[in-house]
Symmetry: C2
Subunit: 440 residues, 2 copies
């Protein structure tokens, strides 16, 4: 993409309303624009990052055997009256009356809707196990939306729902999602710690929150220092017994502050770490809560009807954009992990109009595209300092800087955003270094 043909409205000033780093940086980097309180438009750069995160979530859901569907945003009130949550949910539910005076709502979650789909079609245990997910916009009418897309009202969530014949089989489904979450967040460069959690309004017996560590996190987290040494098992066969894997991860102490009791902490102060964290996923096993209330039963092997055992599994897809920034930025701007960077590499032409620089920058840009990368070419008519600062602000992992002084010596500068490494090498070596992701 040529930056001169892109829409990247960078802000020089730090917006006053933004209290946390991710909100400030997303506004300054031209990723989002507020539409109304807690509701945002995603501008081109923000949309690219959101898409990359969404695609990683989708791939790992598919690998874990979940089937993608798409439920609508607007749901009928009747479904929530059946489960009993219509009155319980309170003012956070955006309630709507349509032109025929029917009560509708903008879904904050989809347990009722998926249970309705299940009961409409499935009658036998032979169709189980089944896990279906969707990635859809949700709405929660927060009384005080803040922190940009981190605590917005309209937000993108992946929610999966598993259906099993009994509690033991439901545990297998739960473990698959547990492991897929570890893999999902690891691919985004995040350390995500699963913590035992309360089940809250979803209900149920077993629940883990996935918390990423970030200095600016919303809540305190207490965990065994071994968590920071844990090498994730990245090559896990989902057909194996996952209980030992889950046990391995859950055996290390980890609690959010509301569940941590200093007087009864099972590990020593020397092993205990206290940092701040951000919740980016939450999984629940709630058994028959919805299936019993809504009549989602299957006939078991003995022919008798039983309510299915369900779990639900959420990931805050839009929230992750902010979460990754909170976990990975410095005073110059965002530092994107490679897997979610909007562009993996930028070619910065410090002197557009200069024939030598134009040719060298254009050649690098073409070659990067031919190699299958999606490079950004900064061909704007701007001061060199402003250009370099903006590439750091928007967090491009590799930056190849083409300037007239370097070109006199046949070299360009290659900069790696995260390590800060810079080298002056020939354009060809620069290309090879970037293609090989060769960090010194």
């Amino acid at each position: 993409m040529r930056l001169s043909q892109y829409f990247l409205p960078l802000l020089k000033e730090t917006p006053k309303e933004a209290q946390i780093a991710s909100h400030r940086l997303m506004l300054r980097a031209g990723m989002i624009q507020q539409s109304s309180a807690g509701i945002y438009s995603w501008l081109p750069l923000g949309k690219k990052v959101l898409d990359k995160i969404e695609e990683i979530v989708r791939e790992e859901q598919n690998r874990a055997g979940a089937l993608e569907i798409l439920m609508p945003t607007i749901q009928p009130a009747e479904l929530w009256q059946e489960s009993g949550r219509y009155d319980d949910y309170g003012a956070e539910m955006l309630r709507i009356r349509d032109r025929h005076d029917r009560d509708m709502l903008y879904g904050p979650t989809n347990e009722e809707q998926i249970t309705d789909i299940f009961r409409s079609h499935l009658r036998s245990y032979k169709a189980l196990p089944l896990n279906m997910y969707h990635i859809q916009w949700k709405f929660r009418d927060e009384v005080r939306p803040r922190f940009g897309i981190m605590r917005g009202r309209e937000f993108l969530m992946k929610d999966a729902y598993s259906f099993d014949l009994d509690a033991d089989k439901a545990r297998v489904a739960y473990n698959k999602m547990f492991v897929s979450y570890l893999k999902t967040f690891a691919r985004m460069g995040l350390t995500a710690i699963p913590m035992e959690a309360d089940t809250g309004p979803i209900g149920g017996d077993m629940s883990h929150e996935f918390i990423i560590l970030a200095e600016t996190g919303e809540s305190g987290v207490y965990f065994h220092k071994e968590w920071l040494n844990t090498d994730l098992i990245t090559d896990i066969d989902y057909d194996q017994d996952l209980q030992p894997v889950v046990d391995k991860f859950t055996s290390l102490y980890a609690r959010a502050d509301e569940k941590h009791d200093p007087d009864n902490c099972p590990i020593s102060a020397a092993d205990l770490m206290v940092l701040r964290g951000i919740e980016i996923g939450h999984i629940f096993y709630f058994g028959e809560k919805y299936s019993a209330a809504m009549g989602a039963t299957v006939s078991g092997p003995d022919g008798k009807p039983v309510p299915v055992h369900m779990g639900s599994y959420g990931i805050g897809v839009s929230r992750l954009v902010g979460g990754i920034i909170e976990a990975s930025h410095d005073d110059k701007g965002i530092i994107w992990p490679d897997s979610v960077a909007p562009f993996g590499v930028a070619v910065v032409n410090l002197k557009p109009g200069d024939a030598v620089c134009e040719a060298a920058a254009g050649d690098l840009y073409e070659k990067l595209m031919k190699a299958g990368l999606d490079p950004l070419l900064d061909d704007r008519d701007e001061r060199p300092g402003a250009k370099l600062a903006s590439m750091d602000l928007i967090g491009i992992p590799w930056q190849i800087v083409v300037g007239p002084r370097g070109m006199d010596n046949g070299v360009v500068e290659v900069k790696h955003r995260k390590s800060g490494e810079t080298v002056e090498i020939s354009p060809e070596s620069a290309l090879n270094k970037v293609l090989a992701n060769d960090i010194a």
Copy 2:
């Protein structure tokens, strides 16, 4: 995908509420499920088709130089009060009051929102031309939703918005979208005819509807028979002058019934064709209508502020799923064009449990996956007749049928859904035939 692990709730009965072919077939093929009037969930098979259509639309928008963004579904009423459309829009707009009693709405379209984004950031003509699009769910509270997803309330639309300095430049943007629409629909195997149209509530000076031909179409269309012979120019460079291309297409007579005057038809009865059609896209040039009302101005080359000239360009993405089925089905079911088929090929094992059939079907399935295809393996424990009928119902383009009698002779049956061609050949020849898309 192994069908035994998929969620494909096929219906044997034709649902009574479905009046048109696409609605009947989408329900019978387990693609969608109604949530409430005019609002549907997309089940796994339907979601796959929707995604493929969306991706073709996205690719062609990107090729035409449009930038993808994502605007929220819920908009503040203030924006629509600025343009004057808040009161005009009537009962089709889903109006919402949030917990703080602020008036909001579920966007039926996004002219106001995109104009607000533009005016927040852009001040100079040097940023032009600019075209931004998004693919997002919209809501129109139809008084009588019907025809399944063809005339639903919550629907997926691609809408692009162009910004230019003057009417001539806006025409260039219009022409790019015009050409990209021809290419988009051609890739889906559709004959889409652009017809001069009224601009309706969007307003403006110039407008074309894109209509696909289908016997079950909602409205009559009158057009020169040459339309059916028109070979689409598929390799068009968007940087060239597109006016001759657009002129070539618009010079042939084509009018929807409300714009066709039999007494003043410029072509002879011998050249005139009358068929039925379905609107699947609509493009508008409306100049300064929104930019003037909402203060979206840029300074021109002379430094004076002028309202930008805008156009908007819609494609009914979810509607296209139904439109394609209307245009391509028979009494056995759907006939998917290759580009949007949920699975390009199915391997049907007529006798699961039979060692020879299992091995041959499994081997074909594995080899198709290794070749990069996304095959479906029908490994269900069902009657052979029911299996064959369901593959025709869900419209899989290529079907490889593995049965015990064929295997005795070392052959499988390869069936091409559209042509009806069937041949008995060796499994290896079957594989090669499908990979080569070799229709006799």
